[in-house]
């Protein structure tokens, strides 16, 4: 009896203690990639609303080749006083860990668990910082718990210069990267777009996105040239070639798949308006990717000689837009993207893996997110994919992969480099149907998923 009031007092103290922890300004000293923060001497909010979303200043930092610095460095000059070395005194090394647990509405198959825990879901090491006065790199090495292996993740090595041209501030440079749009400055394009994190065990439609929305990530090498004028107009163009990891097109090329024939041209143009605490960007992006020895969403693969392989040609054209409101108390972001893909499936059709010679595919999404003091936030996103009916190519009962889903998330950041999130995904339609989409009685809502995660960088 006498213990109850004391226990209640302790519970109240713990509750208010945690509440105070949420409201108090704790030391905040890191960035999405903390080595950038160590290099610039600036806290996270200079470059991010909440990681990984960039602010206008973050976009300038990235376009400038990650070279801005504000720390001690080691330098050298040659006999003509030209700089030959400009190394940061601190090695630009960072680490990142993601961990999570997922609970699906229904297990993916009768023999599996509906609950899955991933620790670490992903663990990464970064070299992220300046290399010289005009060069910098974002290089990520990642352990993935689903494959149980370590591999190259997103990489962006840049050369950048700046000039005053007739009163205009002109940044120009070159990016060598391995994922189309990983070099982009806005969070409305695929590589850094919403959702920033999701469960590795969640179900995806037959075609979750266009080629530029992840299919080419980390299996290509691209060289692009860009300019960013008056921190508003951005223009970029370049080409990508296949650069496989763990396989080679130089030996036994017929065992490799989805190899870009020649080069895949890439383009990007965007314009950002800035006024007061607001910014609004709209733009276009795209890639034309002819793929030799393609695989199909149904799981079929062509394995011919790369010397005379037929190709499936994908032309992706995207539109994107991003709005941001940023002040000390409130941070609002709206990211939207629509991508249309024209699929010329000549190779798959001739191999008997496609019903049609040409198909179309569209994906669209929009997410609005709000953060209070960069500490507590919520986001709501809607996603949809749709396309042609092609039973052979897609391998779905309905013959298409039309799907739509919503995603709601709440986040808490005790520190700017630590994020705790709870995310719920609800499918309204999956692979062309809301019920019995696989012919075995599985409904779209059976793929609904509750996912809790911890994401930290240091």
């Amino acid at each position: 009896m006498s213990h109850r009031p004391r226990r209640a007092q302790w519970l109240l103290r713990i509750f208010f203690g945690l509440f105070a922890l949420v409201l108090t300004d704790l030391p905040q000293s890191a960035l999405a990639v903390p080595s950038f923060a160590r290099q610039t001497g600036l806290a996270c909010e200079a470059c991010h609303t909440v990681f990984p979303q960039l602010t206008p200043f973050g976009r300038v930092f990235k376009a400038s080749g990650y070279t801005l610095f504000n720390t001690q460095k080691v330098t050298d000059i040659d006999r003509s006083k030209q700089s030959t070395l400009s190394l940061s005194d601190l090695p630009p090394i960072s680490a990142m860990i993601m961990a999570g647990t997922s609970d699906a509405e229904k297990a993916n198959d009768p023999n599996s668990s509906k609950v899955s825990t991933d620790f670490p879901q992903q663990a990464s090491l970064f070299y992220a910082g300046r290399i010289s006065d005009n060069m910098g790199a974002y290089f990520q090495l990642t352990y993935d718990d689903q494959s149980g292996s370590i591999g190259i993740d997103n990489t962006d090595i840049r050369f950048a210069e700046v000039a005053n041209v007739d009163g205009h501030n002109v940044i120009y440079g070159i990016s060598l990267n391995n994922n189309p749009t990983v070099q982009d400055l806005w969070n409305s394009t695929p590589a850094w777009g919403q959702p920033f994190i999701n469960s590795p065990t969640g179900q995806s439609p037959a075609i979750p996105g266009a080629q530029i929305e992840g299919a080419l990530a980390q299996v290509v090498a691209g060289l692009t040239a860009y300019t960013y004028i008056d921190n508003s107009l951005y223009i970029e163009a370049g080409v990508y070639r296949s650069a496989l990891q763990g396989a080679s097109v130089a030996d036994n090329g017929n065992t490799t798949n989805n190899i870009i024939s020649g080069v895949a041209p890439y383009w990007r143009a965007a314009y950002e308006f800035d006024w007061g605490k607001n910014s609004w960007e709209f733009g276009t992006f795209g890639i034309s990717a002819p793929l030799e020895n393609p695989t199909t969403p149904a799981g079929n693969a062509i394995n011919n000689s790369l010397q005379n392989a037929a190709t499936d040609r994908f032309l992706d054209v995207g539109l994107d837009s991003q709005y941001q409101f940023i002040d000390d108390e409130n941070q609002i972001s709206i990211d939207a993207r629509w991508t249309h893909e024209n699929q010329n499936l000549e190779a798959s059709y001739l191999a008997g893996f496609a019903t049609n010679r040409t198909d179309n595919f569209d994906s669209a999404n929009a997410t609005v997110s709000y953060y209070w003091h960069r500490k507590v936030g919520a986001s709501l996103g809607l996603f949809t994919v749709s396309g042609s009916n092609d039973p052979l190519y897609l391998g779905t009962i309905s013959g298409n992969s039309n799907s739509s889903w919503g995603m709601a998330e709440i986040d808490y950041l005790p520190w700017l480099n630590v994020k705790l999130g709870l995310q719920y995904t609800a499918f309204m339609r999956f692979d062309g149907a809301s019920s019995n989409y696989d012919g075995l009685g599985r409904n779209a809502s059976d793929n609904n998923l509750l996912y809790g995660y911890l994401w930290l960088a240091f």
Binding site: L42, P56, F57, V60, F69, N70, V74, V162
Partner: protein, 72 residues
């Protein structure tokens, strides 16, 4: 000859020890006048009376550079 060569090599290899440094005014496209209504004393990186967190040298409150970041 050998000693001189070795000395030259040593001078090349021995980089200048860590020095405190910031972005040069040229690299930041710094100018001593405002631009499009933006000026340094309205920037989050400006440190009164006349310096900047990231740009080297004396900074005018009415100056401007390409890293202008509006105070929130």
């Amino acid at each position: 000859m050998m000693a001189g060569g070795a000395a030259a090599l040593a001078a090349t290899i021995a980089a200048t020890p860590a020095e405190a440094d910031k972005m040069s005014q040229k690299g930041a496209l710094y100018q001593e006048t405002p631009k499009n209504g933006q000026q340094c004393d309205g920037c989050a990186l400006f440190k009164a009376p006349a310096s900047c967190t990231i740009v080297d040298g004396t900074i005018s409150p009415t100056g401007w550079c390409r890293f202008f970041s509006k105070k929130s």
